[in-house]
Symmetry: C2
Subunit: 320 residues, 2 copies
DNA sequence: CTGAAAGCGCTAACAG
DNA sequence: CTGTTAGCGCTTTCAG
């Protein structure tokens, strides 16, 4: 029989004699035949995978997002290819390129910075959802009210009795870093009398360490730290330990992101939790709608909220 | 001019007039032309991406491997697509399928269990390297001497003065879980007199928790725990805390894998570190050689060693 | 319901 | 050095 019929049979087209179709499937199975996906993609102009581009695979925030994306994608029969841009604009654009070239069904992108160039994707009309950091483009997005969370965290520090809260935030070109700094500043300003103390550093353990060192080496060091992500918090702990300082006594600490280990460090870390899984899940939902063409023309923007979880690191204990 | 010439110019073939080539590139740039990767793959029968299939994105062991793979892949100009099989044979086979269909240049696979079906990949002659857990197939592999590491860890517990060491290992169908259990058993048997105490549980935080609970609820509970991975260790800590036990006093603990947070939990966790980054890097090197056809017919098998890092959780402190 | 034919966009082989 | 031709493996009109 003809290739066309085989194709139809294997793709479950209704316009084919059931018994013949069965025979085709049987033969295919026996021969171990597998359709060539590349050829199919070339013809169909689309694949059933989607790309998720994140800035750091080793950040639990992003792995939680990943799970959210995977769960909904899988429920719709799509696979997700994870791409780690590593906060590197070069890698990010390479992956954007790969996504375009592989003709993925859609992409979810956590952009490195606002300048990320998604023009090609748009031109190739590949549906897209932005997460975590906004892009100056009219596309769907799922963001978190970082600024509110930061403000809440800082206020909590002040309410707990700390008098010189400082902020260790991410790099200057990261929107989330700016927002968290803004939130901190709003809180501090809302209380008058307080100095504004902050440093920028990479969103890494090493960054937290150097940030803490710089702050603590200042002329009038802070007595509390609001840290912009969980990995940096580990670095802060490292530096604090090196100096023999006691968290909760000499220094209050609260951090963005509730990592699996947050309750178990010493002392248990107070955090502002982001709904990471939901970010992923919602972004995937938005994307799926667009992939199906079931979405409105105008971009949708979702804003999710953070949640304050107070443990020990931010409480003020007497010096013994 | 002809499409062929354009193709040659854009691909930097030497057999094309330099000035013409420049003109082509200029025009392409101006028009924002991007070659269709799918068509190219169809023709070339290969892409410049490789797939890394791991069983758990949220396990720091695998993210460290990922970095190793990415670094060497990138140095050779390849991108890596990360696939999270989530310890689910179904997802694993889906990704294997995707890898085949997308005609990736090669795949690095951490198989769920020995039965993983890679026959199709082999038939499609896509180069492959297995990591972490062996497969009953003649393919390149990079493994860790888990058993030795487990034995070392258990001996360390015994040497530190703990008298009833137990083992919380992974699921029965995971080779690494078996090996770590074997190592524990060898150590225990080498000391005579000691009971053999162990449980299987999922390689997750929840698994560590339930495993610890089962052991601690036994008639003669252990006084020390060797835990088979870092995520389970968090669960153990959770359960131990719930019971008001003090690690290092009432209970000695040592775990596989040195996570970023291991030094910061309370008390600092003693570990058997796996050379995760190297696993990834070496696997990628093996794969690259095979992709280039520069590898011998016969499969290569690399075995890497673990390293014992003693911190506080495994030391025995007086109850005072 | 099935077959023939065209073609997705590119590149390799072969002439010139 | 360049153009022509063919074809990667599939799906989809369009006839029959």
């Amino acid at each position: 029989m003809s290739a066309a019929t085989v194709s139809r049979a294997l793709n479950g087209r209704s316009t084919v004699d059931p018994v013949l179709a069965a025979r085709v499937r049987e033969a295919a199975r026996r021969l171990g035949y597998r359709p060539n996906g590349v050829a199919r993609s070339l013809r169909r102009q689309v694949t059933d995978v989607l790309a998720l581009i994140i800035t750091d695979v080793s950040n639990p925030f992003f792995t939680a997002i990943t799970r959210g994306v995977e769960d909904v994608a899988q429920s719709k029969g799509l696979s997700v290819l994870l791409c780690n841009s590593d906060e590197d604009p070069g890698k990010e654009s390479t992956y954007l390129h790969v996504a375009e070239q592989e003709q993925v069904a859609g992409v979810i992108l956590a952009p490195h910075r606002a300048g990320s160039d998604v023009a090609h994707l748009r031109r190739a009309s590949i549906p897209m959802v932005i997460i975590d950091r906004p892009l100056g483009e009219p596309v769907d997005s799922v963001m978190v009210r970082s600024r509110d969370g930061a403000q809440t965290a800082t206020n909590h520090l002040i309410d707990a009795g700390w008098t010189r809260p400082a902020c260790i935030t991410g790099p200057e070109d990261a929107w989330t870093a700016q927002e968290r700094l803004e939130g901190y500043l709003e809180a501090v300003r809302g209380h008058g009398e307080l100095d504004e103390l902050w440093v920028h550093a990479p969103f890494r353990q090493q960054g937290g360490m150097s940030g803490a060192a710089r702050l603590l080496d200042g002329p009038e060091p802070p007595d509390a730290l609001f840290v912009a992500n969980a990995q940096m918090a580990l670095g802060v702990l490292e530096e604090v330990r090196r100096r023999g300082l006691r968290v909760g006594v000499d220094l209050g600490v609260i951090t963005f992101d509730d990592a699996p280990w947050s309750p178990f460090v010493s002392p248990p870390m107070s955090v502002v939790a982001q709904p990471a899984y939901d970010i992923g899940a919602q972004a995937a939902e938005l994307l799926m709608e667009r992939v199906k063409g079931a979405a409105p023309e105008t971009p949708r923007h979702l804003w999710l909220s953070t949640m304050l979880i107070v443990r020990e690191s931010s409480r003020r204990h007497g010096a013994g």
